[in-house]
Assembly symmetry: C2
């Protein structure tokens, strides 16, 4: 953890790195065409947030950047499946044992590619949920703007024409705008938290499932390698006939079974909290509950004073309603519609 709770800390080698020192830097890190990531990715990242309300700008950029991550992940998945096929094609002309094992390794690597493909789909679900936070942010901006505009107008009038009858009208309008804004801000706070939790729960669950499954495949891959007879032959000596077809097929079947049976309740990689973390988290949760019992509603009552009609229930809150609809619908329809919806929302935000 290099960029960590303290950004100034230098990184210590891990126990695993001490056991197996890391290899030299890979060749892909030098000399590359068209810079890193390509034109499309750079364009998408930089253009996001250039339009649309201030409040949603940073999150709009994040959403676009997540799309880049997805496209790159998808490329990895596709290329991994292709290399799996190529490995099998190469092995076909080799001796029987090499041919069989490379073919079966190809099956395993292809499966890794397919799992990556599935992970991309689930990553999109996470991204769609983050988008719904962006949408509520975008919808709260007009109510903030309106409140600010009225406040400015009153100040201007009080300076120019302190006895104007418009001041009273504007002040009433301001009370209404403040009430609307209070609702909007509460919605923003609630939805941000709810969706943030949902999005990252989804992301981490998907990541954990993906990782555990790929680790299972890696284990069976190593079993397959044992079938190759790597004792050296002397020139002219022929290798014996290969009899591992059944064994390799059985290994693949075992792997298939292990993957098909995996459920999150069977996850074996644990992330245990230390006593200290557990105590601190527990104390935090208790504090939240304690405060929740005596909620301070004075602020809310104050804001509504004298102008009950200005209170807009959530259901009638135009911008919020539209965005919520658009988003919830979008997450269930097919990919293309979702893509279109996104363009519309970004360029002409509600």
């Amino acid at each position: 953890m290099h960029r960590t709770y303290s950004m100034r800390q230098t990184r210590m080698p891990t126990a695993s790195q001490v056991e197996n020192p890391p290899p030299p830097l890979s060749t892909t890190k030098t000399s590359r065409w068209l810079g890193k990531g390509g034109f499309g990715h750079a364009f998408r990242k930089n253009a996001a947030g250039a339009f649309g309300p201030d409040l949603a700008r940073k999150l709009a950029q994040l959403v676009k950047m997540e799309k880049n991550v997805m496209r790159s992940l998808e490329l990895v998945s596709k290329e991994r499946m292709e290399t799996a096929q190529q490995l099998s094609i190469w092995g076909e002309n080799c001796d029987e044992d090499v041919s069989d094992v490379t073919d079966k390794l190809g099956v395993l690597l292809y499966e890794v590619g397919e799992l990556e493909d599935l992970y991309v789909d689930r990553y999109d679900q996470y991204r769609v949920t983050i988008k719904s936070i962006r949408n509520i942010e975008a919808s709260v901006q007009p109510s903030r703007d309106r409140k600010q505009k009225i406040t400015d107008e009153i100040a201007k009038l009080k300076y120019k024409d302190p006895n104007s009858p418009r001041i009273v009208v504007l002040e009433q309008e301001l009370v209404r705008a403040e009430a609307e804004s209070l609702v909007a801000e509460a919605q923003l706070s609630n939805i941000t938290r709810e969706k943030l939790k949902a999005a990252f729960s989804y992301q981490f669950d998907a990541l954990r499932e993906h990782c555990e499954k790929v680790a299972i495949i890696a284990g069976y891959g190593k079993h397959l390698l044992d079938l190759i007879d790597d004792t050296a032959v002397t020139p002219g000596e022929t290798r014996q006939a290969y009899d591992g077809y059944d064994a390799s097929k059985a290994i693949i079947k075992d792997c298939e079974g292990a993957l098909a049976d995996w459920v999150s309740s069977k996850a074996v990689v644990k992330s245990e909290l230390s006593t200290r973390s557990r105590t601190l988290s527990q104390r935090h949760r208790e504090n939240v509950h304690k405060q929740r019992e005596g909620v301070d509603l004075s602020n809310q009552d104050q804001a509504m004073r004298g102008d009950r009609d200005s209170w807009v229930p959530a259901g009638q809150h135009a911008t919020y309603h539209v965005v919520e609809d658009g988003e919830e619908g979008a997450s269930t329809v097919d990919g293309e519609a979702r893509g279109r919806d996104e363009e519309r929302v970004t360029v002409v935000p509600a």
Copy 2:
């Protein structure tokens, strides 16, 4: 496992898919600029193996395709780190708890990106090992060609001029060429197996370590999410002050500790073989050992008959020697030299 031991089988949903049905297809799968993977990747894949000896053609293509996989993986890693930063930048303007948790989530996601980066380096090590098989394949081709050429010439002479004294000379030459070829083929067989096992052991070990570590991070990420207070507030109500800074920092520290302590001997994802697989693998191994005890060397003796001088020891076997040197050196020098070396070997193979 769709493309599996039987390519005709359709895929059953896994237990995990039944528990959580997969989401709709991701948006990245439709409408894309410049086709899938971009120009550079397509060029690299298709150009590989267009030059160079037949024997090494398929493997040369695989090596190039693996480079594509690496570049794409690297892009994912870089983009994941960028999104981690952007998440933290967005969170900065939110409420205290959201701000703290998104910042810490950023730390975790950045770490995932760094692990992916390390995995790319280790993937390169696998690829370099596969390259050494390609090199021995390329070096064996000339000796096959030479044997074929002499055989053709003898056949031609016997037809045109059956009493030519050159036939005897050529026949002696053929015996020498056959001996050289026998050595080359044995080297090919030995090195292919040895390197194939080494390459994939390395690949699977790296994959397993990467996956288990990322799964650990995902687990701690979920602990972090618990710190966000997502109970709904009513309009005007203020949330209590956030007191989770110590807890979130402790969680990150726990995660850091878990990652630093991970060693392959502590890997928890097991890939157990069923009794059937174990029996079959065991039987295969026993057969290999049995046959190994009584090696049939008659073939080897026959080939050397009458022409002991033609036997070329491995050390003096020109092409094989050059390639072995080039490869072994290449795997330890820095990335750029390795890249250059690769170009040379592909275009003008030894």
